[in-house]
C-alpha cells in the first residue's frame, strides 16, 4: 500500500484536531502568553505549530472562551490569555466528556 503514510496522516490529523483545543484550554487556567504556551505544550511532548496556535487563540477569544490582558510590568509588554468564566465551564464539561470518551475507548480498543 504505497499511500499508507498519506492515509495515516489524514486520519491522524482528524484524530488530533479536537484534542489540540482541549490541550490549549487546559493550559490557560492560569494566564499565559502565546510563546510560553507553545513551550509548555512542547514540554508535554505534544507538538503545536505557532501558525496553528495564534489563529486559534484569536478565534477562542472572539468566541468568548478566552479573555486577554496586556502585561506591561515586564521589560516588554505581552498579551496574556486566560479562560473566561464561560471558558472555565466549557473546559470543565469537555474534560468530563474526554474522561468518559477515553474510558470507552480503552474498553473498545482493549477488546
Amino acid at each position: 500500500m504505497p499511500e499508507m503514510d498519506e492515509l495515516f496522516s489524514i486520519f491522524d490529523t482528524e484524530l488530533k484536531r479536537g484534542t489540540l483545543t482541549l490541550i490549549v484550554l487546559s493550559q490557560l487556567q492560569q494566564p499565559q502568553y502565546g510563546y510560553s504556551l507553545i513551550q509548555n505544550i512542547a514540554e508535554k511532548k505534544v507538538e503545536i505549530e505557532a501558525g496553528t496556535l495564534y489563529p486559534m487563540l484569536r478565534r477562542l477569544e472572539k468566541q468568548g472562551v478566552l479573555v486577554s490582558d496586556w502585561d506591561t510590568t515586564e521589560s516588554r509588554p505581552r498579551k496574556y490569555y486566560q479562560l473566561s468564566p464561560d471558558g472555565q465551564e466549557l473546559f470543565r464539561r469537555l474534560k468530563e466528556n474526554w474522561a468518559r470518551l477515553s474510558r470507552n475507548m480503552k474498553e473498545i480498543l482493549g477488546e
Binding site: Y33, G34, E49, A50, P55, R58, K62, K79
Partner: protein, 330 residues
C-alpha cells in the same frame, strides 16, 4: 522590519477587507510574542519561517466559508449544470438557423454553410457561459441562504420514513433523462419561434432575389393567443423539470402531467379551431399553385386541422396521461 511587513501583507491580502486590520494586529502581536529580547534580523527570519506558509496561515485566520458551493449542494449543482449545458448545445443549431433566416442574405452557398457553423459555435460559446454563470450564481446564493428547503426531502422539516419514495426506480416506472431534455429543447424552440419569429412559419417560395415567405398565421390573431401559448409552454417546461427531478413516475407527477396535458391541448384546440388564426393569403397561394378553387383548399385545410386535433387529443392527452398514471402505479 520590512520583512515583517511583507509577511503580514502576504497573509492579510488573502482575507476579507473587514477582517484585515484586526488580523494584522493579531499577527504582529504574535510575531512579537515569538521573538526573543534584543532580536536580530536572523531571529525575525526564523520566526516567520516557523509561522509557515502565509497562504496556509491566512486560511487558518479566515472565518467565512471556504467554498462557493458546499458539498450539500454540489451534486445537485453538477447535474443541473450538465442538463442546462446539454439543452444549450442541442438547441444551438436550430436557434442559429432561425437567426440566419432573419439576417441579411449572403451571396453564395459556401459562405452560408461556413457562417452557419461559425454562428453555431459562437452561440454555444456565449450561451454556455451565460448558463454556467447563472446556474453557479443561483447555487452560490442557495448555499449562502442555506435553507432546509434546499435539502432532500425539500419539505423544510426533518425527514421521516414516509418521505422515502414508495418504489425505487425500475424499468417499468423510470423516466429517462433524454425524453424531458428533448422536450425542453423543443419547447424552447417553440417559444422562440412563436414568440419572436412567427412570420417565419409559412410557405417558402423561391424568387429571383431570395425567398418569399407567405405566413401561415394571421399575425394579429396569433398575437392574441400568444400569452396562452407561452403559459402552456411554460407549464410543459415545469413538467419536464419535475420529471428530471423525480426521475420516475409517481402519483403527484402523473396528476400534474395529466393536468398540464389537458390545459395544453385545450389551448391548442382553441387556437387551431379558430378560423381567423390562419392567413387567407396562404390558402389562396396554395390554390393558385395547384390551380384549384381556394374554397376547396380551405375545406381540405379544415379537415387536416381536425385530424391534427384528434391525434393531439388521442396521443398527447389520453395516451400520455394514462401512461403516466399506469407507470406511477407500478
Amino acid at each position: 522590519m520590512k520583512i515583517i511587513d511583507r509577511y503580514v501583507y502576504t497573509v492579510t491580502k488573502r482575507l476579507l477587507e473587514k477582517d484585515r486590520r484586526e488580523v494584522e494586529e493579531n499577527l504582529r502581536e504574535s510575531i512579537d510574542d515569538m521573538l526573543p529580547d534584543n532580536y536580530t534580523e536572523a531571529d525575525v527570519e526564523e520566526t516567520l519561517v516557523t509561522l509557515g506558509n502565509p497562504a496556509l496561515l491566512a486560511e487558518k485566520y479566515r472565518d467565512t466559508p471556504h467554498s462557493l458551493i458546499g458539498p450539500a449542494l454540489y451534486n445537485n449543482y453538477l447535474s443541473v449544470l450538465k442538463i442546462v449545458l446539454i439543452v444549450v448545445v442541442c438547441s444551438a443549431p436550430l436557434m442559429t438557423f432561425l437567426s440566419l433566416l432573419t439576417a441579411e442574405p449572403v451571396e453564395n452557398g459556401l459562405n452560408l454553410v461556413v457562417t452557419f457553423f461559425v454562428q453555431i459555435l459562437a452561440f454555444i460559446f456565449e450561451a454556455a457561459f451565460q448558463a454556467f454563470a447563472w446556474v453557479t450564481v443561483l447555487f452560490a446564493v442557495m448555499d449562502r441562504v442555506n435553507s432546509p428547503y434546499f435539502r432532500w426531502p425539500y419539505t423544510g422539516k426533518e425527514w421521516t420514513l414516509s418521505d422515502l419514495d414508495d418504489t425505487v426506480p425500475s424499468k417499468k416506472n423510470e423516466i429517462g433523462k433524454s425524453d424531458p431534455i428533448v422536450s425542453i429543447i423543443f419547447t424552447l424552440l417553440f417559444i422562440t419561434v412563436f414568440g419572436f419569429f412567427p412570420q417565419l412559419i409559412g410557405g417558402y417560395m423561391k424568387l429571383e432575389n431570395g425567398w418569399n415567405i407567405i405566413p401561415l398565421f394571421n399575425l394579429d390573431a396569433l398575437r392574441q393567443y400568444l400569452p396562452l401559448l407561452l403559459v402552456s409552454a411554460g407549464l410543459s417546461l415545469m413538467v419536464d423539470i419535475l420529471k428530471l427531478i423525480y426521475q420516475k413516475w409517481n402519483r403527484t407527477l402523473a396528476i400534474i402531467n395529466a393536468a398540464v396535458n389537458v390545459f395544453s391541448i385545450g389551448v391548442l384546440i382553441a387556437f387551431l379551431l379558430n378560423r381567423s388564426i390562419f392567413n387567407d393569403q396562404f390558402h389562396i397561394r396554395i390554390a393558385q399553385l395547384l390551380e384549384t378553387d381556394p374554397a376547396v383548399i380551405v375545406k381540405t385545410w379544415q379537415w387536416g386541422v381536425w385530424g391534427i386535433v384528434a391525434v393531439a387529443i388521442l396521443f398527447g392527452m389520453i395516451v400520455d396521461s394514462i401512461s403516466g398514471f399506469r407507470k406511477a402505479a407500478r
